[in-house]
């Protein structure tokens, strides 16, 4: 497949790195909220609500809590958003070829995505507040539980494609049967892992409103909060793009990207509205007992398929 390419400077500032990504993040947040609302038989927000939220937050006064390191308090949301935006450069966003690409970029992307969660944890620990401290602990606990299975789930297609480069996996995926059929377990884990990463319900124990107010972000009010939210929205887009590229037959053009990610978002919204919130111990237990095991089984199956497959076909 021939993905289109974009000039580097434009790639950084407008598409796919800068404005486009922020805008699509807001749009996807809107679609997610609207879908959940409709699943719950509610009206849902108007289309500009996420943007209005961000604008309002940016205009608000930001109060640095006493006892928190001011520098960290300001820089952490920036790092979080930056990491998320950087990660976008390596993924085939909107069906275009990744702006930058090198061998092993899938690992870099995944770690850039995790940087956001680390920033969240640090931000919570920094703001010396009881709720954010518990939120931060839970955020990091959750990070350690979903990260390994999520990684395993995204490595599956990489191993199948025999490459650690996102663009190559994308190309490989579009020439094959959809890997959602050949690796269903991997897809499930990747999907649920993404929800854990974004702390969406039912994995929202780190920011469980009824227990610890807003978790790690309790003390964030203005700009910082807006940046964290934007970061999460961007991660949602990137995560959906990755899963769609890996498991749903690659992304060849913008239209392909749009319908595949939206279908994934529909599934994610459905999962978000179906369950009661899991306690943090339930989340960890589920990931390590079921998620990691299934991930390993999937990996084994792929390895067997990859190395034994040619041998078996060679027999006949």
């Amino acid at each position: 497949m021939n993905n289109l390419t974009v000039p580097p400077l434009l790639a950084l500032l407008v598409f796919p790195g800068g404005l486009f990504l922020l805008a699509s993040g807001l749009v996807y947040e809107f679609v997610d909220r609207k879908l959940i609302a409709r699943f719950q038989n509610r009206q849902g927000p108007r289309w500009f609500q996420p943007l209005a939220d961000v604008v309002k937050l940016l205009a608000k006064e930001e109060i640095t809590p006493s006892g928190a390191s001011r520098g960290l308090f300001i820089i952490l949301p920036v790092i979080a958003l930056t990491a998320a935006l950087t990660a976008a450069l390596y993924v085939p966003l909107a069906g275009f070829a990744p702006s930058f690409s090198f061998r092993g970029d899938v690992v870099v992307t995944l770690y850039l995505l995790s940087a956001m969660t680390l920033c969240l944890g640090l931000a919570g620990a920094n703001t010396a507040d009881r709720f954010s401290l518990i939120g931060a602990t839970r955020t990091l606990t959750q990070l350690f539980s979903y990260e390994a299975p999520f990684l395993l789930a995204l490595l599956g297609p990489a191993i199948a494609a025999g490459s650690w480069q996102i663009s190559e996996i994308n190309t490989y995926a579009s020439g094959q049967w959809w890997m959602i059929i050949t690796q269903p377990i991997g897809f499930l884990i990747a999907m649920v892992g993404l929800m854990g990463k974004l702390e969406l319900p039912p994995f929202d124990a780190p920011e469980a409103e009824t227990e610890i107010v807003a978790g790690a972000l309790t003390e964030y009010s203005g700009r910082g909060f807006a940046l964290f939210r934007l970061g999460k929205d961007v991660e949602l887009v990137i995560g959906l793009t990755l899963i769609a590229a890996f498991y749903m037959g690659g992304l060849a053009n913008p239209l392909d990207f749009l319908w595949k990610t939206l279908v994934l978002l529909l599934v994610a919204a459905g999962l978000q509205s179906l369950f009661a919130r899991l306690r943090i111990d339930q989340t960890v237990g589920m990931w390590w007992r079921i998620g990691a095991l299934l991930g390993l089984v999937q990996l084994l199956a792929i390895l067997v398929g990859r190395f034994a497959g040619p041998w078996i076909t060679g027999l006949f």
């Binding site: 509205s273 369950f275 009661a276 919130r277």
Partner: protein
Amino acid sequence: MEKTSDGKFIVPIGAQHPALKEPGHFEFAVEGEIVVGASVRLGYVHRGIEKGCENRNWIQAMYLTERVCGICSHIHATAFALATEKLAGVEVPARAQAIRVLISELERIHSHMLWLGVAAHEGGFDTLFMYSWRDRETVMDLLEAVTGNRVNYSANVIGGVKFDISPEQKETILKGIEFLEERSQHYMEVVTTDETFTGRTRGIGTMPYDDAIRLGAAGPTLRASGVARDVRTDSPYAGYKLFPVNIITDTAGDLDARFIVRIKELFESYRLVREILDNLPEGELSIRVPRRIPAGEAIQRVEAPRGELFYFVQSEGGENPSRVKIRTPSLLNWASITNFAPGHKLADMPMILAGIDPCFSCNDRMITVRDVRTGQVSNLEDLKIR
């Protein structure tokens, strides 16, 4: 971080907290995620309703007591009216008593549906919350169509009720009840079978039979521990003599059991509403009660949606009550939180709190007044002299 002197980490819930829709202050001492101690502090919404009753005539006082609670308003007015009628020595017509029961049962349906949503929300199950509140609109519309008001129904007068149930209203109620029954069946299935939800309710906040009695719990919280105690059957008031209620109990005593008991009570209420509508006794709607109530004292116990509600009313023969004392069921249930919260995860606290269906502003009553500066303690008699 702030720690208590014995090195425990305290997580405050309240007085302002997203889990609580009314102000109350809870302090949970935690070790990691495990709660090791719990304490409760109330009194943020004391409104002086008991004192306010003394300055109003009997009729106005009844409307004031109706405002003790926003959810179970009718039952408060009923309790006050029943106590006053007892003092006046009048016999309220059977039809009026039946209509009072009808409204109380509709109110119970409304209250339990509301609780179901709140409890689900505390457990992070917002979909159940939205659906149960959507369906709760049905019963609120029914109440509006019958009484003319959505919240403070003002169905009572001292000596009876204000309105009759017309055949069209009966049809509307039956239709609404049918829809609600079908939905409740579904919610029963959800709360008892959904794995993620039962994971949050089974074995959480378990209160054994003996402790439930020892701590003096009330209402569905008590009945979920297997104690068959319900004022509607133990000492039937108003129309409950004509329309007996079956007590719903469960033996488990945990949150799951409280869900089951409350939803089963919904079915019992549906049955009762149908029975009352079909067998509404003939007769007058109200009886004349003198404006001056003879001197005396009366107590009245009724079963509010949250449990036993207690009214003490005293008259000195005038146009005003001379003393009204209200004890609401939430006050009886706090001990079940502070005693059974330790040992659970912090994440379970909102659900355990919601499990007793707390109503904060209802239970904030004053017994003695302590002057913070002088330390002087005044009781009711002292205050009256001033």
